[in-house]
Symmetry: D2
């Protein structure tokens, strides 16, 4: 399949370029009878939307989502849910400057090599704008998992450049522009980001995500392990370069006597595994981290080529997020949610009788 | 789909439990006309086989693969290739000791929760033995990619516990039991592993993998990015807890002016991206690392439950690899190869005309 | 997968209910560089549109399609093509009459049993209106197959009730409201249809379809035979009850010495097979027929139940096509085209090298 | 996907050529806890086996199936079930006669065009022998559907050449070599077949199939309608040229007032629909018919080409079934069963909660 759809049974197919007429998605497989309206989706979209603070790009989009199908009298019907967001801020600005240039760190060069052409306006399909539809679809899955199973998925910033956040106050995450779980260190994050921006540069970030309330038994062994599909979902987010589940890369120097989670009558005594063993959820919190590279659009001049093979210098004008990682927080939540939703349905298909017993 | 198949167009479906009659696979989508015989596959299988050194499990299996279909007069025909390996060393040993116990770090508990039962003999389907078929299928893909495209995929140990290997002498990798690219540090690895074993404990590892000679243009944007599918492939290997592409988690503290790979008329000037931008290969080497947890079967007593909910103590008897990570090297190669093969075919489907132009 | 998408590599996911805000589709996998604009799609849509003659339903929809993505500077880019048609004629008419009743021959009862609810306005997702998006997506595939491979797909009415059309003048098909290839018998069709309508009843039809110019070699043997996937595509059209390839049901009483198509140096000497052997195209014209049941909405009173289990009488008011089969002609073409397009890409993935030789 | 697998959630991937070492299959997605042993499968295989009467090919194969995985202590475990049948009667006979010739009506020519080569021994992958694995996999699905849902799938011969069987005595079907439901007309079938054979010719057949006890609600609307997937399954059987559901092609001349099945408090009053409306099962018996072309291997000389483009004459020596349609009966049952099993799981995934309410 061509790559713009996610999930086997809760399946999201997206379309849309950054500066085309619209973004959209078809969400298939949502069980019938879920109470749903546009506001349920808008809430998550608003958290992802740029232009909300001085730390993110100043493009201002209403990002107003319209439900085109699949919901009737306030409930899902079991038929596909069509979602649409019109692009409203795609100014007819002059792209002649970068039209033929491959911007370092961007997908300009690779789209060109693959397709022999590209929509150069704002990154086209490779733009982070594309993720709006993932968040919209994720909001539907989130509602199902929350209403029916009591599952909570939540993410926060864990590091930005050299700043590592250790405190985890979930109530603070949505009260600051950094999705920081440590409200006291927000000034430190601000200072660091301002310093980077002053230099016209950018910086990477690390996001932590967890899912609570998940039943044991989700995940298909061997190739479609829960953590494998989750890793694919997370590594499929723009700019992500690393994914770690549970103790992640720390396991390299761990002893088995430390790593293996023991159990007693009260349940698991630790969670080094990150909630998954042999590809199947244990019922403990699922935990993961993703590493997000620094924004590729920077004001520092960079060497590159144009489509004709000429050497050129590329400098990105205009204002860009100096740390795209911050805005990735809701997207990490969405992709996690979509992964769990799909595996919930997949498990139910094969093991539906378990629940009946 | 139920999870035991990998790939969209070069599709490998595997079956078999550790102590059942056999392991097998169906490999679909191999282009016709590839010269292939069992020896081509056996070569890779032999590198994965346990019982070859004192550092790996002493189970001795011939692991002799039989090609059951899809090859005629020495060449692939385009029809599915059936592969079979009989299990020969599944002694009828007494499993009553662990039959009802959930071994910490193993999939015993999760299979039980998912399926309400499990084949407890040697881990059943969750055994590392299952990976033999991945290596067998990978050998077919490797031959195609090598013969037709000149692609090389290779992996090596990069760290084991506290020992980090920096030198990378590829010619040495297959001359030592650790797949170490630094032959001089093999004694150090031996000493470290012996110490761990003496304590009845185990240790984690890190594997480095790269693919050379890949054309630009492979990978499907958005959800099926090359690195996303690769991450899924790697995270789907038993015991893997982390996957990092290119600079991986180092990007968290990198500046954009460092990370973004520049180009001049000679091509790319660095490879922080690890050979992939926007989900599509750049033509530079693909690079990744995986973190592998310490072996779960250890002789240190651990607390756990049995299937009746009773608290029990688990001690693994018999000899086990104190570092499963070592044996993962050929599997990491196989899963990388299968990912690339699949994406080669997927790209050819949509962009076949590019090559004709 | 949940059933609202068609194709493996040229993949069309559709959404939308008859009386919801819009219909839409995502078309993935279209090769880049195909010249395309909305008019290319509109042409086929206009042929499917109701309200064009007194023999079809009088709902009047502009059915104006908008391309939302995937096309840039007049050519496809390789990214998904989003398509949208706003519903403009979904009058807020009173559905209280049929809201709770299961109309015989309709999907009312089965949607209710499956989903526990349904959008009763105009048939919701089960409405023939849904097929507009198949035609729109088919138009893109048609353009590719025509421009790049010289393939022509065309269909016509072959029977309506007792009227069987034997002459096949393709130039006449689009000049009459019946898609009749025999223009001289149009008055006879008119008379027959008027008679049926006068009785408030409806009648079935048979459509003939063929594809010319197809290369040999398309189709995947065993389960995904070209004719198998084609049969699925055709049987998936509303109201279709039978599909026959080549000589179809006539083979039951044929001799092998009649059926098997002979060849000499000039090629095949007959085409009883209908252009496909062993699931793979022979290079001869592909030929098939479909049987379409009479319109279920009729003015003859019928016994049925309501959602509460009460016995009710159902009479459909308003004007409906007395023969839905007529309007199926462009949809049969579209589904045939989508099948061929998908198999062209699938073949190219595995056998791309054949073309290079 | 490359075409040798069937089903989304109950997924069967098959391999094996007529004269290769073995046939095999991987059956994924079978729910755990189903009681299963090789005898359950062997029973259905024995009904398909050739060499049982003088009316079928004289190849004698034990067709002994081995379960290689996925069953433990007499029950399915939820992991893939590997199945194997060794070919034992593939005599090293001389194929030089037909090695380079394209036999009319066979897939020789199309495999050659698609793959540039073919396993010419006994038809290779295109042989009817391949269907053994469909029957084996179907037997597992049959057991599940029967044990858990009380579903019965059964097929019989309905016509052979000019002989049309109208009586339907199911108890007689397995007591005669023709799967005839009218035991009194077996002598007539024998006479007809002997006449055909005497001429060295062959004849077509029609099979009727039905599924009883199916719940309402199975089937995914739009593209994956139950009848669409079923049509694909049936049209994917070797030699099938037509598929008709319910009243099939009779609907062409039916009135809507006849076709639409009415209901009263006792349920449906007729079953013209064949148990499916809008792609979803009604709970009535599912009914279909398939048309099967005459055997292509005949002793009547036929004109054809060889791989070098030379004109040749082809005469099939040896004994072949003069009517392959007869042996298709168990395969039609198997493909029907596999379709239903898959849709049962697909429905359960999305609508699992329905059952819980």
């Amino acid at each position: 399949m061509p790559g713009n759809a996610f999930g086997e049974l809760f399946r999201v197919a997206t379309f849309g370029e950054s500066h085309g007429p619209a973004l959209g998605a078809v969400v298939e497989g949502c069980p019938p009878g879920l109470s749903l309206d546009a506001a349920d989706i808008q809430r998550d979209l608003d958290r992802r939307r740029p232009g909300q603070s001085r730390y993110t790009t100043q493009r201002r989009e209403a990002d107003e989502v319209e439900i085109l199908s699949g919901v009737f009298e306030g409930e899902t019907t079991g038929t596909p849910i069509g979602l649409l967001i019109r692009n409203t801020d795609q100014r007819s600005k002059d792209y002649s400057e970068i039209k033929d240039k491959f911007r370092p760190g961007h997908a300009d060069y690779t789209y060109w090599k693959k397709y022999g052409r590209r929509d150069y306006r704002g990154g086209g399909r490779a733009s982070a704008r594309e993720t709006a539809m993932r968040v919209a679809a994720g909001a539907i899955a989130r509602k199902f998992l929350s209403d029916r199973l009591g599952v909570t998925v939540r993410a926060c910033l864990e590091a930005m450049g050299e700043v590592r956040l250790e405190r985890r106050d979930w109530s603070a995450v949505h009260d600051n522009a950094f999705f920081s779980p440590d409200p006291e260190r927000v000034p430190e994050l601000e200072a660091a980001l301002n310093a980077v921006r002053k230099e016209g540069d950018s910086i990477g970030a690390q996001i932590y995500v967890e899912a609570l309330g998940l039943p044991a038994g989700l995940g298909e062994p061997v190739f479609d392990r829960l953590e494998a599909d989750w890793a694919r979902a997370l590594m499929g987010i723009n700019a992500v370069k690393g994914v770690a589940v549970g103790d992640g890369f720390d396991v390299v120097s761990q002893r088995g006597s430390v790593h293996g989670d023991e159990m007693d009558a009260t349940g698991f005594l630790s969670n080094h595994a990150g909630g998954v063993l042999g590809g199947i959820s244990t019922g403990q919190p699922l935990t993961a981290r993703v590493a997000i590279k620094p924004t590729s659009s920077i004001q520092v001049p960079r060497r590159s080529l144009d489509v004709h093979g000429n050497e050129v210098e590329v400098v990105t004008k205009g204002r860009h997020d100096p740390c795209v990682g911050i805005r990735a927080v809701p997207i990490v939540e969405a992709m996690t949610t979509l992964t769990l939703m799909d595996h919930f349905l997949r498990d139910r298909a094969q093991n539906g009788e378990r629940g009946d017993g």
